[in-house]
Each structure stands twice: as C-alpha cells, then as structure tokens.
C-alpha cells in the first residue's frame, strides 16, 4: 500500500488499529532518477503473522516526513537510522540524535551517489588465489575494474 506522505502517520495508525501492531521493518530506498526516497514500513499482525507493507515517497531534494514514534515507539531507532543514512528529516521525532555514524561525517552513506571509498582501499580477500605462492605474483588477471560502489574513474591515478 502506497500512501501520500501527508497521510503517513494517520495511515499507520489505522493499520495498527486493525491489528498490525508489530513493527517488523522500517527502512528507505533511494531512487535518484525519480528524485525521491521511498520509506518502507512492514507491519505484522501478531498471532497470524499477516504482513502489511506501507510505503510513501518523499522529495529527495528536501526529504522530510512526520515521525511515527507517537504511533510506534519502536520506530525511533529506525527513523534515526534513516535520518543518518538517507538524510530524511523526521518531524516530531522526540530524540533526533545521530545514532550510528561519526559526528560531522557530512554524507548519507545509503544514498546512491555515496562513493564506497573503503571498497577501493580495502584489499579484496578474493584477489589472492588461495594457494598461489605469494599473493603478489605479478599476474593481475582479475579485478581490473573497481568494485561496486566505486566510480570507474575514481582515484584512477592511485591504482597504477
């Protein structure tokens, strides 16, 4: 079920009233081409384990959404996580402190444009062929392209 962001909290309240009272999952998906961030909420009905998935989309350039903490107190951590990872602001969140990331990081890691820099500098464990004598046998047959999440031209000169 997809709802208008203005009806987000009221729609969830209605779902909870219908017995979907267990917060199973609250997360977000970034769609840069469509300039939107989708918020995904999965609720369960305890006992029967029926699932209700509710989604809404907010504008990627200025993402904000009403908080669900009044309806589902357990949404607090998930909203704080989405706020950090996707840069979505939750209006009315009682405790919007950063949750996981270092203060002043200045980026939202789960947005698609974020370069997974660690991928480019972490040695890939699969690069070694386990039983070849010496890891650096000079034969660089694999991994000429950068790993997923790293643009092809990113720090190209550092690789040569």
């Amino acid at each position: 079920m997809n709802v208008d962001p203005r009806d987000w909290a009221s729609s969830i309240r209605a779902q909870v009233a219908q017995g979907f009272a267990y917060l199973d999952l609250l997360t977000a998906v970034d769609y840069p081409e469509a300039q939107r961030i989708e918020i995904v909420l999965v609720l369960l009905r305890p006992g029967t384990a029926e699932i209700s998935t509710v989604t809404t989309s907010v504008d990627r350039r200025e993402p904000r959404l009403g908080s669900l903490v009044d309806v589902l107190p357990g949404a607090s951590w998930h909203e704080r996580e989405i706020a950090e990872m996707f840069g979505v602001e939750f209006d009315g969140h009682p405790d919007p402190r950063p949750l996981l990331l270092a203060p002043g990081l200045g980026l939202h890691p789960l947005r698609k444009e974020t370069v997974l820099g660690a991928r480019a500098v972490t040695p890939w464990p699969g690069a070694r062929s386990g039983h070849e004598e010496g890891a650096s046998s000079g034969r660089r047959t694999r991994r000429t392209s950068p790993p997923p999440g790293v643009p092809a031209d990113w720090l190209r000169e550092a690789e040569s």
Binding site: W124, G126, H131
Partner: protein, 115 residues
C-alpha cells in the same frame, strides 16, 4: 521463550574436510567477510605417471562483524562445505572476537541441521 527455529540463520558452520579452498565463497561474498589461506601439496599415487597437486586449507575465517547473513556463500559452495546453524550465542566484547577461525567454524557443524 519461543525456541529458535532449526533453519534459523544463526551462524555458518564450515566442514574443513569438504572445503577445497576454491575461493568461490570468498569472491561471492558481498561483504568480503571470508578469508582463506591455503597451499598446494604434491600427491604421488602409486601407479600414477605424474604427481597430482592438491589444495590444502590452512585457514578459513569469517568475520561476523562484517557478515550480513545473506547466505550467498552457503548457496555458492559447490562442495557442500558451508552450512547454516541456528546457534547464535557468540557475542563478543571486542570486534576481533567476532572473527571465527577454522576450528571455531567447524565446531558449529554438529548443530547444523542440513548437514
């Protein structure tokens, strides 16, 4: 308390005897949480014209601090050396303690229902 289902993704058990150090799990892992060290040994069988070279597993580690429990390694293993176990009680006070070495991973085998 509800019991943990048998098929729960608690931990991944390794059968070091079945592992051929082929590196497929290491390369398929999206999180890069598996590491394998191995070497080759020459085996000369009686009657054989030439010796064979066999990969011997030295070290197999999974870093549970990185693993996202997707199970791709279990699916990808062509030699049935990796199994899900519902055991989950392996919390650690430090991040290094989440790296399980070969023997620790093999110890989970007895609790793996698929095996």
């Amino acid at each position: 308390m509800t019991e943990v289902p048998r098929q729960a993704r608690g931990v991944i058990a390794l059968d070091p005897v079945s592992c051929t150090s082929c590196m497929i799990c290491v390369r398929e892992c999206p999180d890069w949480c598996i590491e394998i060290d191995s070497h080759t040994e020459e085996v000369t069988e009686p009657g054989a014209r030439r010796p064979r070279y066999v990969a011997v597993l030295d070290r197999f580690t999974i870093d549970w601090g990185l693993c996202m429990y997707c199970g791709i390694c279990v699916e990808a293993c062509p030699f049935d050396a990796l199994f899900w176990s519902p055991e989950h009680d392996y919390a650690s006070q430090d991040a290094g303690g989440l790296v399980h070495e070969t023997q620790r991973l093999a110890d989970w085998l007895s609790s793996a229902p698929q095996r």
